[in-house]
């Protein structure tokens, strides 16, 4: 009898422990630069929303963890990851060879390209190279900025936020802006104040995969993320999100 009681207590204990373990799934802190609509932005209720946010929430649900978002300026977002201020970055981060040397990336979760936006008054420009001797803006440290730099004779102007680059183009200080296709569409086509002023030139001229960035060697989190991404893709949730955010 006594033995049985002990066993039942032990069983109860084991159940309760596993229950608390299940009640509190792993929480990961994720940084995002919410100035990159429609991928990540702050809505009127001061909430961080966007494709990336919905996507990672879906991944978290599939893989069984929770996410706390941290709005972080792009310039220095990688430094914060290195110093351990957060566990991962989801911020339209293109997987590049240089970045891969320093950080680890999840499997790519969406394919996107860089595109050029110019004022509507500009009738002749087709590619960045046509803007020789002029200033072209991009957000600091983005693949858009790296693309502009590849064109000799075109002066790159870097901004802390891509929105400031568009505002500077609206006031005529720069002749073009290079950024990710969805963001370009958001600023040049959907924003009321800009849609009459800007146009997108040609098609995307790069093919880039976005990945979730983690600290080098954090294989545990990486495995968890990849598991979630696989499940989300299998359920075609990402296609639904694409329709919701990227029209």
């Amino acid at each position: 009898m006594k033995k049985f009681r002990f066993l039942s207590v032990a069983a109860l204990l084991a159940v309760s422990i596993s229950a608390t373990a299940m009640a509190a799934p792993m929480n990961i802190k994720v940084a995002t630069d919410a100035t990159w609509p429609p991928m990540e932005m702050v809505d009127t209720h001061k909430k961080i929303v966007g494709f990336d946010i919905d996507f990672l929430n879906a991944v978290a649900k599939e893989a069984g963890f929770t996410v706390t978002y941290k709005n972080t300026a792009w310039d220095g977002i990688f430094a914060g990851l290195e110093s351990g201020k957060y566990d991962a970055i989801i911020s339209s981060v293109t997987i590049t060879a240089e970045r891969k040397k320093k950080y680890d990336f999840s499997d790519p979760y969406i394919q996107i390209g860089q595109i050029l936006v110019v004022p509507k008054t500009d009738k002749s420009t087709v590619t960045i190279a046509d803007l020789k001797g002029k200033q072209v803006g991009a957000q600091i440290g983005t693949t858009g900025a790296f693309e502009v730099k590849k064109n000799p004779g075109v002066e790159l102007k870097t901004y802390d936020e891509v929105g400031l680059a568009f505002e500077d183009m609206a006031s005529g200080r720069i002749s073009g802006v290079v950024c990710d296709e969805p963001t370009a569409a958001h600023f040049a086509l959907q924003r009321k104040e800009y849609s009459s002023k800007f146009k997108i030139v040609g098609a995307a001229f790069t093919h880039e995969g976005y990945g979730i960035t983690v600290k080098k060697g954090n294989t545990k989190l990486l495995a968890l993320l990849n598991k979630g991404i696989k499940a989300v893709k299998a359920k075609k949730i990402d296609e639904k999100l694409r329709k919701k955010w990227l029209r």
Binding site: A79, K157, T158, D160, S171
Partner: protein
């Protein structure tokens, strides 16, 4: 009620570095250690670890030039604005006085960072001004208010008897101001203007937020591409340090000159 102390203690703190004065003959002053230490550290880093330090030193020089241009341009423009504001503040005319005072109060109540954003993007809505000029205007409008107060204090520090004497000699108020008061006041305000210059040099790093390619932005561009944040900001900090210490010394030499022929 708390008792008020009998003696009033005045604390004066400059924006610049602690420059060794001639009477302080010690070789190891804070200024010398900082200045030569910074230069030696730069050389050491570039020599021992050329990657990435030498690369960074190659990347940023045009940024130093921009920082320098913005600083000099802004201090010149700010001196003009400051002189007008300062004269306005001591003017007997109510409207002029009120306008100048309002300018000083409003500008000094807004953070410089906010002003730079505001002037840059607000100006952009109405007139097309190149970025560097906008940055200079933004800095000058802000520092003009501070310099206005410096000029006002400088002019008011000249004894009243000087003006009265000039007027009794038959000079008009304007003549007296130009030929008697301002030359003397100038000597008084030069040291504080030097201080403001140093402060402006440091604050000019704020213009990097409006995409002017100054020293700080060049550094940030380098860091954002190579991810060597620590190394880059070490170099940026050292360059700023050398610049401010150099100009502090220059200004103190100028002050010494002024005092020598007094």
């Amino acid at each position: 009620m708390a008792q008020t102390p009998n003696t009033q203690i005045k604390i004066e703190i400059g924006e610049g570095a602690a420059i060794p004065v001639k009477s302080d003959a010690g070789l190891f002053t804070a200024w010398r250690i900082a200045f030569f230490g910074a230069i030696l550290t730069c050389c050491y880093l570039a020599f021992v670890k050329p990657d990435p330090y030498l690369e960074i030193f190659r990347f940023v020089p045009d940024g130093i030039l921009v920082t320098f241009k913005v600083t000099v341009g802004a201090i010149l423009l700010a001196s003009i604005i400051g002189l007008v504001a300062g004269l306005g503040r001591i003017s007997g005319n109510r409207i002029i006085n009120g306008t100048a005072s309002l300018y000083v109060e409003v500008i000094r109540g807004i953070p410089l960072l906010v002003q730079i954003f505001y002037i840059y993007y607000a100006l952009g809505r109405f007139v097309k001004i190149p970025d560097m000029l906008s940055a200079i205007i933004a800095m000058a409008v802000c520092y003009g208010a501070y310099l206005g107060e410096v000029f006002r204090a400088g002019i008011q520090s000249i004894p009243k008897g000087q003006m009265e004497a000039a007027l009794s000699l038959g000079m008009t108020r304007g003549q007296a101001l130009r030929q008697v008061i301002l030359p003397q006041a100038f000597r008084v305000v030069l040291p504080p203007i030097g201080n403001e210059f140093i402060a402006l040099l440091k604050d000019s790093s704020l213009v990097s937020i409006i995409a002017v390619s100054d020293l700080l932005r060049r550094g940030r561009e380098y860091a954002s591409e190579t991810f060597s944040y620590f190394e880059t900001y070490t170099v940026i900090a050292l360059i700023y340090l050398v610049m401010t210490l150099f100009f502090s010394k220059l200004i103190s030499l100028m002050e010494e000159r002024l005092n020598a022929d007094r």
